[in-house]
Symmetry: C2
Subunit: 419 residues, 2 copies
C-alpha cells in the first residue's frame, strides 16, 4: 500500500468532541471515522486491524470445534418474548422499528435467543451434541451515553459463541477449554500478560460468571488482584468483592491490590435455565426429553481494539503489536533522487512479493512529517531509505514499541522482517 | 469438516412458506436458516459460500485500486437530508428508530450519502484524486414483500463501491475498468457466459446506467438480447427498450430476443450531480473549487449467491461452481470396517493437509442417503470409499455438474483434486 494512494490522512488536531483517548488517536491516525457518538466507520487501516483481531479469534474458536455462522440483525418479537427480553423495561438498549404491515422488529443487541431458536430446528438427539457455534456480528445497542470511543459503542463488532452440551460435565469441559482459548487469544493480541480470568456476578443459574479483565487505566471496571492460598493468581471484580465472597475464595482484602481494568471478554454458564425458559431440549439415549446445558462466550472485537490502543499507545501515538498491526513495515523514502526512489521501490516490491505487508510512504513531504506519521500510525517497524543510508550501505530500522534503532544490511533487514 | 460434527442437517421437506427455489434448496441443504420473510441467517456451509463470493469480488476490486473499508449501519438524519433522501416519500424502504434522547436514526439501506460525508473529511486537493472505496455491508431495507428468497431480502450483504474522479475523462476510464472487473467476477463465479452488460435507465445525469443481467428464468427482469450492426452483443433492459432507444443503439426489436434475467450488478455515473447536491468539492491546480465526478458500483453478494443457485441447480439439488463451493470434495465413506475407515480417514487427512477443503461424510447412514446429500449439497466432487472400491484398488470420483463418474488411482485422485 502506498501512502500517496491511501485516501485517509493523519491530523495533529485532537478531535474536540472525543474524550476517549482511543477514539482521539484512531481518528487522528485515520483508522476510524466518527459517524455519530458511539458509531464509527473503519477506514482501510482500521478495517485491517479489526480483521486481524477477528482472524486470531476465529482460529482459536475453530481450534475448540467452534462452527462459524452469521445470524441476522433483524429480530422477531416472538423470539425474545419467551425469556421476557423483548420488553424495554427488561432490556433498555433495543433499537426497534416496524415492517410496512406494522409487525414489530428489533435490531440484534445480542443473539442468544435467536441462536437457540435456530438450533431448535437442527437439534433433536443426544447424538447431535455437543454443538458450538459462533459468529462475528455487528451489534446495535441504544446506549444512553457513548463516551468511551470504540470501547463501548452503539454499533460494534462482537464475537459471540454458544455451546450446547448434554450435561454439566460436558459443559464444564468446554467451558474450561474456552477459558484456555481466550487466554491464548489475549496472548496473541499482545495483552495476555495483563489480562486475568476474573470472578464476576453470575446469573440465575450460577453464583459467578467469568470475565476477562485487562489492567488498563481507561477501563470502566475495578478488580481485586492477588494470590490465593495456593499461590495462584486470582482476580475478582469489585462488584462481587464483598467480604463473604473473598472469604469463600480464600483470600483477604488486605492481600489484594485494587486496579482499574477493562473487560475484554465474558463467559456465562446458563446451566439449563435458558433452555427451560425457551423449551430447548433433546432426547437422551433412554428416549427422555432433556434440557440442553447452555453457555455463552463473548469477545467485543472493536472493544478489544480500543483496549489495545489505550494500553499500548504512548505520547507519540498508536503502538500495535505485530499480530494486529494493519501492516508490519512503514517504509519511509526520504528524498526523490533516482537512487533513493529505485532502492525504495525495489525494497517495497521485494517485501510485498514475500507477503510482508508494507505501507510505503512515497509522498513528497519532509522527513519529520514521515517520522511523525510512522509513530502516530503505530506500525511495528519503520525502515528509512535515504541518500545517507545508501552511502553507508545499510538500512535504518526502528522498532516502534521499544524505540530501538539499528543500521543493518539488506540481507539482515529481510531476515528480521521475516521476508 | 466432518458431517458428524456439522450441526446443520439436510431435509427432504420443501419449506411450505417459501416459493423461491433458491430459498427452498438452501434451507433444505442447510446453507441458510430463515429468520423471517426476507431475512436469513447463513449457517456454516452458507457462510463459506458468501465468503468465497466476497473474496473473488474483493480481489477484483483491489486490482482496480479499490480501498476496502466498512461504514456503519446507523445513519444520521442530516446525512441524508441534503439530497432529500431521508424523506419516506422519496425513499420508502428506510428502517428508522430513535436514540434515547429522541434523535432520529436510520439503518443503512444504501451508503452513498454517508460515504460522501466521510470522504469530505479527507479530500481537499486534486492531488488526492482519484479515490475508489468499497465495502461489504449488511443493508437493511424495509421491503413490502419478500418472496424471492435471498435474491431480494430485507437484510442482505452488498458490495458497494464509490469512485471520485477529477473530471469526466478520468471517471470514464475507471467506469470502463469496473465493467471489465465485473465481467471477470461473473466469469470466476461461473455465470459469466450468460451475464450481459445491459443498458438500463439512467439518473438525473445520464440517459443510461449499466446493469449486469444474468439470463435466468427466476429473474425479475426482462432484457432484449442481440447483436448491434458491428456484430457486438448488446443487451437492453426492457424498461428502456422503446423504439427510439433501440434506434439510437442501432438495433431493431425484431432482431432481438427477449429473455428473463436477474440483475447481478449495477453501476451508475452520477457526473457532478450528487456532488453538487452535497457540496462535495476539491481544489484544482488553479486553486478553483470543483465538483467531484462520482460513480457508484454495486454487487448484491447474497443476491448473486441466489442467482447461482437458481441458474445451476438441477432436480437433485444445488450445483456450486468450484470457486464458490463451501468445500471442493464430498468424501463419502460407505461402511465402517477398519479398512474402509482407515483409508477414508487417511484420504481426508491428506486432502486437508494439502489445503483441499473436504466435507467428510463419516456418518453411519446408508449409501443412498450419503449420495442424496452429496447431490443436494452441490459439492463439486464426490469421492466414494467402500470395500468395493478398495477391492478394485481405485477411487470413485463423480463430478456434480456433469454427473461423470471415474474410477481412478490414488495418485490420479490427488492430481485431479489439486492436492
Amino acid at each position: 500500500m502506498r501512502s500517496s494512494q491511501l485516501f485517509t490522512k493523519t491530523t495533529k488536531n485532537v478531535p474536540a468532541d472525543e474524550t476517549a483517548r482511543n477514539a482521539q488517536l484512531l481518528i487522528q491516525a485515520g483508522y476510524v471515522y466518527k459517524v455519530m457518538a458511539g458509531v464509527y466507520a473503519f477506514t482501510p487501516l482500521g478495517l485491517r486491524v479489526v480483521e486481524n483481531i477477528k482472524q486470531i479469534v476465529r482460529e482459536e474458536m475453530d481450534a475448540i470445534s467452534g462452527q462459524e455462522l452469521i445470524m441476522s440483525s433483524l429480530q422477531k418479537r416472538s423470539t425474545w418474548e419467551a425469556t421476557g427480553r423483548w420488553d424495554d423495561d427488561v432490556v433498555d438498549i433495543w433499537f426497534k422499528s416496524k415492517l410496512k404491515d406494522g409487525t414489530d422488529v428489533g435490531f440484534g443487541w445480542s443473539h442468544e435467543e435467536a441462536i437457540i431458536e435456530m438450533l431448535k430446528q437442527y437439534l433433536s438427539s443426544y447424538k447431535d451434541l455437543p454443538i458450538n457455534v459462533y459468529q462475528f456480528q455487528t451489534k446495535l445497542r441504544n446506549e444512553t451515553r457513548a463516551k468511551s470511543g470504540i470501547m463501548r459503542g452503539r454499533e460494534f463488532v462482537m464475537k459471540d459463541m454458544y455451546s450446547c452440551n448434554l450435561d454439566a460435565e460436558q459443559h464444564e469441559k468446554f467451558y474450561q477449554a474456552t477459558i484456555d482459548a481466550y487466554m491464548r487469544i489475549y496472548d496473541r493480541l499482545g495483552i495476555g500478560e495483563d489480562t486475568y480470568v476474573t470472578f464476576a456476578s453470575g446469573g440465575a443459574f450460577t453464583k459467578f460468571s467469568h470475565e476477562f479483565q485487562t489492567v488498563c487505566d481507561a477501563g470502566e471496571d475495578s478488580i481485586y488482584l492477588g494470590k490465593d492460598k495456593n499461590g495462584r493468581t486470582i482476580a475478582v471484580n469489585e462488584e462481587v468483592g464483598d467480604d463473604e465472597t473473598l472469604a469463600d475464595l480464600g483470600v483477604k482484602r488486605e492481600d489484594l491490590k485494587k486496579v482499574k481494568s477493562a473487560e475484554v471478554g465474558n463467559i456465562f454458564n446458563f446451566g439449563t435455565q435458558k433452555s427451560e425458559d425457551t423449551d430447548f431440549t433433546f432426547t437422551n439415549e433412554q428416549g427422555e426429553k432433556q434440557f440442553v446445558h447452555l453457555g455463552s462466550y463473548g469477545i467485543g472485537i472493536t472493544r478489544v481494539m480500543g483496549v489495545i490502543v489505550e494500553k499500548l499507545a504512548d505520547d507519540k501515538g498508536l503502538v500495535w503489536p505485530e499480530a494486529v498491526a494493519p501492516v508490519k513495515v512503514y517504509l519511509a523514502r526520504l528524498g526523490d533522487t533516482p537512487d533513493v526512489t529505485d532502492l525504495a521501490d525495489n525494497i517495497y516490491d521485494e517485501l510485498t512479493s514475500k507477503k510482508v505487508a508494507v505501507l510505503y510512504d512515497d509522498r513528497d513531504v519532509r522527513a519529520g512529517e514521515k517520522f511523525a506519521d510512522a509513530d502516530l500510525l503505530g506500525i511495528p517497524y519503520r525502515v528509512v531509505i535515504s541518500s545517507k543510508t545508501i552511502e553507508t550501505g545499510s538500512f535504518e530500522v526502528k522498532a516502534r514499541a521499544s524505540g530501538e534503532t539499528q543500521l543493518i544490511s539488506r540481507q539482515e533487514l529481510m531476515r528480521q522482517l521475516g521476508a
